[in-house]
Amino acid sequence: MTMKNTEMEEKNWSGQTMVSTDYILFEAPRTKHFMTGSEVLKEAMKRCTVDASVSYPITPQSEAAHLIGELWAEGYVGTYFRGENEFGVMSEVAGCAMAGARTVTTTSGPGTLRAMENFPMWSGTRIPCQLILMARGINSPLTIQPDNLEVSFLLETGCMIWYAENVQELFDMSIAAFTVAEMPDVHVPIITAVDGFFVSHTRESVMLPDDNIALKRYDPYAAPLPPIDSEMPPGRFLRDPFVMKSNYISYATHASWQWEVRSAVERSVPYAKHYLEGLVHITGDEDAEIVFVACGTASHQAKEANRELTKMGIKSKVVKLRTIRPFPHKELLEATKSAKHIFVPEFNVVGWLDKEVTQSLYSKSEAKIVGRPRVAGGMSMPVEAILREVFENVDVKKGA
């Protein structure tokens, strides 16, 4: 898709030329920068024509939230304020999105859990807001360290969940996220997760398009539900409100609504495939019997293990999941066809991704699934930890 002249002429309120998502992500010339995940998020949001953002301090996402505030001060974001706590913030975000704003917020660990009641409310309200989750450990005991246990709590909230591996992916994903979430046939909230500190605080080289271009404005009137702005006829339930009526229709309405939210998440698949260039990314030997399935920075470490194994003459491959909700069942099955041993390295104690992978492949794959290594509480995942699992579980001399 090429940028049309008419698109060139259309500016947003901060004077940026509004262009297609395809143009920003795939066509616009890019230059190299060196920045942290927090800094790159500012750059991404700067190019997203964001109407509203609400913030609250919690390590490690605070800096990202400050920087979005700076965008507001610079005139790029419509409205911005600090809320009272994460429960309040996520409700304020809901209010902004209901009233027709493209809305972004950020949180981490205990903040996510404090806000919890809001996430199913977000999806049930069909608002396409974006939460940037910079995952950290959950108390008690007190921790601020990287750990992605909190993601497991979000899996069944009805929100989409994408997982970025590094600074570059955070930039591209958080732009694509609005576009996919706002599709009228999707229109559910999206959580873009990264591992806190490892991505938020790590400086990496990153390729960015010019900041004089930005996404087109969000059109709330294309939404499947009317925005709460008194500009469209309100939903009418005057005769038979289903709320709190004890009858079959009220139960069926609620049940079908929940199914519909999950269906909407599934309807995001073709869009996500396009903008993320696939729901999974694969590196390594196509026909390898040793397969690592991971997301986020764990997939980076798995790629290191793949390199080490290659040096030893042992074939392996890494399947990096980029979307967790929707879960890429088909892609995972296809990518693990050759697998005899699947390893799921994770940054949490419960192994939520292992459970997801095991359930997804149940009765479909003969491979032995090993939910290790698991590191947590801020511990790092040295490549040796991954290799040790391989050597303990695979008789590599037999030509795995």
Partner: protein
């Protein structure tokens, strides 16, 4: 867009229910020339509240009718609700309303108000919160007071029935000391939370405590609160709407109970900041109420 959104496509008139037709034909919208909507309209105009599902004689239902009849610009008003008896009435309101969670009403309203101010800088859009005492004084206290601290331009109305009525009659922060309710089987041990005073301390420009015994008074207070919220700052109305069921009264005894309380726990309280007072004087001069 204003009242146009309530106009029915002529092609569909023959299949529309009567109450929808009435909204177009006989409701009082400000932009249709009803500059001074009010209680008197209740006698012969279409109400914005359709038949409701509350108990017979419920003062809360009456109070909501007074409030909806008195909204200065219903076609540009968004009402944010919380969980409780009021959430049973909300689906019957013809305006844009929101129910999202129990207690988060002022947070949601803050987001809506700020976004509407951003999206429609040249329009007046009123955001009104309407929630019970549990939602306002207990579970949502933080979000209510924080919205006052932040000076959100919204009007918050607490329908205080001094009890968690919808869940079956449990003590709330708003219950009077000594009252026996569920979860306080020996009687409540602490005083009724003086929310109207907390509102003042927290920075509202206008705070009134009253009962719903006098409809015109409720209407006047509502108008003042909305006019002040448009220009000056947050406003708060603490309105006694007793739960006749939970305090053992008959359907025709709600008014009597409110009149009793006009002299007791709900004796008049009114705070108007000097800026709000000056603004209201100006509004009166301009004939706005």
């Amino acid at each position: 867009m204003s009242v146009d959104i309530y106009k029915i496509n002529p092609e569909f008139r023959d299949i529309m229910p009567q109450e929808i037709l009435d909204l177009e034909d006989n409701a009082t919208w400000q932009s249709e020339g009803y500059e001074k909507r009010g209680i008197n309209d209740l006698t012969d105009k279409k109400e914005i509240l359709e038949e409701h599902s509350l108990c017979a004689g419920c003062p809360e239902a009456a109070a909501l009718r007074y409030i909806l009849a008195a909204l200065p610009t219903p076609e540009e008003t968004i009402i944010v609700n919380s969980t409780g008896c009021t959430s049973l009435m909300f689906p019957h309101i013809a305006l844009h309303t929101v129910h999202s969670l129990f207690g988060n009403q002022n947070a949601v309203a803050s987001g809506i108000k700020r976004t509407l101010a951003w999206r429609f800088p040249d329009k007046t859009k009123d955001v009104v919160v309407l929630a019970g005492d549990g939602a306002t004084v207990d579970i949502g206290l933080d979000y209510t007071l924080q919205s006052f601290f932040r000076q959100e331009r919204i009007t918050t109305i607490c329908f205080d029935n001094e009890v968690y009525a919808n869940t079956g009659g449990q003590e709330s922060g708003s219950t009077a000391k000594g009252q026996v309710f569920k979860m306080a089987p020996k009687g409540k041990v602490f005083d009724k939370v003086p929310m109207w005073e907390l509102a003042v301390t927290s920075g509202v420009a206008y705070s009134v405590k009253l009962t719903a015994s006098a409809p015109k008074k409720v209407a006047k207070v509502l108008k003042e609160a909305i006019l002040v919220a448009r220009e000056i700052g947050p406003t708060y109305i603490h309105l006694y709407t007793p739960c006749i069921l939970e305090i053992g009264l008959a359907a025709n005894e709600g008014l009597w109970e409110m009149k009793e309380q006009d002299k007791d726990r709900f004796v008049d309280f009114k705070y108007v900041s000097p800026e709000a007072e000056a603004h209201l004087k100006q509004c009166k001069k301009e004939g706005l109420y």
